[in-house]
């Protein structure tokens, strides 16, 4: 009668198409009761050959591919790639272009964090948060559409500058939009930050200590939530980040709730950065005036033989980037975004390597959830913000 029940591990597949796995990852979870005994990750469901595709495109044509790495914050990828190529070319872009890149990047950082927070709320049952968050993101997307013509995949940067200057009245409109986004983010915070259900599900789950986070190669909000104040914008300032005044939010426990809080605060800091850029930005060129890198203005193309030649060479052969290799690292929404670029002196990349910010966090997921409940997998998966496009390249 008192023979023990034969307990067997149960294997549960989460994904690759599962409502709570945004992005397409397959998690094979071995359960003991409701506790995760072991977990394996199966990736590659969104591998679309980014690195190889770029080898077949000119340097300028690579920008659309970089858009689709972390597709929620495309301008940051554009910027990272442009900075890498410019490092090889030893180019310094005009100040206004730097400011525009920062503005685009920071607006996209807000979009990225908004998406994460809304999706996290949605998956923990708070639908209202999702609606507020998406509304705020749509407002910002409206402004970005006016800036670069696309809602999501911006393709905004070029080697040597940016594609377009801001349209007339854009700064005032964006300031108004940011005010509204702040209000909506405040509402989201009000709904989540002291919400009993949200706290119970996120506090103390998915915990990573500071040392572990460093050892596992975390960067970005996940590392900062664990207590390590490392941000490339401060550690190795690029563009104009050294002229801007902003704080690095740091968490304490490294759990899901801290990762959420860090992102909420980073949105406020990004908002500060954008406003400072608006105040500091001065009129001027948005791209270098060197026709080896940037297309000449149309009157010159149609009116002069030099302009026509430069245009033809750039379009047909691409930018002739000096041979060599460079690594550019920037602070993207999820952490350090690295492009390792090798050029053989031609118009196309010889080899491109990507350090995807989300990958170390995703790789650490089995470690993070071992021994916790199956239900804790969902907020943990949300808060590391795995983006299929960049992780699977």
């Amino acid at each position: 009668m008192d023979a023990p029940l034969h307990a067997k591990r149960m294997i549960v597949n989460m994904g690759p198409s599962h409502p709570a796995m945004h992005g397409v990852t397959r998690a094979v979870v071995a359960l003991e009761g409701e506790t995760i005994a072991e977990m394996k990750l199966d990736i590659g469901f969104l591998h679309r050959g980014f690195e190889k595709s770029c080898e077949n495109a000119t340097w300028t044509q690579c920008f659309p591919y970089t858009d689709r790495l972390n597709y929620i914050s495309a301008i940051m990828n554009n910027t990272g790639f442009a900075l890498g190529v410019e490092k090889l070319c030893r180019l310094d872009v005009p100040d206004r272009a730097k400011y525009l890149r920062v503005i685009g990047s920071e607006i996209h950082r807000i979009c990225d964090h908004l998406t994460l927070v809304s999706a996290m709320g949605l998956e923990l049952g708070a639908m209202t948060v999702f609606l507020y968050g998406i509304e705020a993101r749509d407002l910002l997307w409206d402004r970005l559409t006016e800036l670069c013509g696309a809602r999501l995949t911006s393709n905004y940067c070029r080697v040597g500058g940016v594609a377009r200057d801001v349209p007339e009245g854009w700064i005032e409109k964006t300031t108004a939009s940011l005010d509204r986004v702040n209000e909506l983010a405040g509402e989201i915070g009000g709904l989540l930050t002291r919400n009993r259900i949200f706290l119970d599900r996120t506090r103390g789950t998915g915990r990573v200590s500071r040392q572990d986070a460093i050892d596992l190669g975390f960067t970005g909000p996940c590392l900062r939530a664990a207590g390590e104040p490392y941000d490339i914008r401060k550690a190795a300032p690029y563009l104009v980040y050294d002229r801007l005044d902003f704080d690095i939010p740091v968490g304490e426990h490294g759990d899901n709730f801290d990762r959420y809080l860090v992102r909420m605060e980073e949105m406020r800091q990004s908002d500060r950065i954008v406003r400072q850029c608006f105040a500091q930005m001065e009129p001027g060129d948005i791209a270098v005036k060197d026709f080896h890198y940037v297309l000449p203005p149309k009157p010159q193309v149609y009116g002069t033989i030099e302009g026509l030649m430069a245009h033809f060479k750039l379009v047909m052969e691409g930018i002739q980037v000096p041979a060599g290799e460079a690594y550019s690292y920037t602070e993207a929404a999820n952490g350090e975004l690295g492009f390792y670029i090798v050029s053989d002196g031609g118009g196309r990349p010889y080899k491109l390597g990507l350090r995807a910010p989300g990958w170390p966090m995703l790789a650490a997921l089995p470690y993070m959830v071992r021994g916790s409940l199956l239900a804790d997998l969902i907020p943990t998966f949300d808060s590391i913000n795995m983006i299929g496009g960049e992780v699977e390249q």
Binding site: P19, V24, I134
Partner: protein, 178 residues
Amino acid sequence: MAETDTLPAIATRREEATGFFQKLVSKGLGWARKNSLYQYPFVTACCGIEYMSLASARYDIARFGAEVPRFSPRQADLLLVVGTINCKQAPILQRIYEQMADPKWVIAYGVCASSGGFYDNYATVQGIDRLIPVDVYVPGCPPRPEQVLDGLMLLQKKIQDQEHKLIDRASPKLASGR
């Protein structure tokens, strides 16, 4: 489709009468089905981020009767393939399509699902119509929500014009309702 609209040139009164009622039933079923599409969003990539906008307050796909995402293929009748399908993903998509009950429809959301887009390489399936039949293709990378709503309206028109039966005794080959 056209079969219900054009009656044969010579018909007996009985055939005429049944044809009339069948047409009426078909129209009614079509109206009901087009306005209560339960969708299965097969979200893989960038388009999924736009899909969030489509599903929430501003663009509000609910206005077209298609607001309820069903994450079980057995409860859905519209498969939205949102994003890039690569070779590793292909068999899963095919299996999910096969698990859906008839009648079922498919929208290829975005250019990757429609044709592979600019991912013309070793990894990507060059359009999901190599795997499953597609009713509406929505181009764009990613398409604006308005474009998708337009595609959805096209699909609704298509469903309305199809022949629907109360009891479908068609052979399994023809049972897909298209």
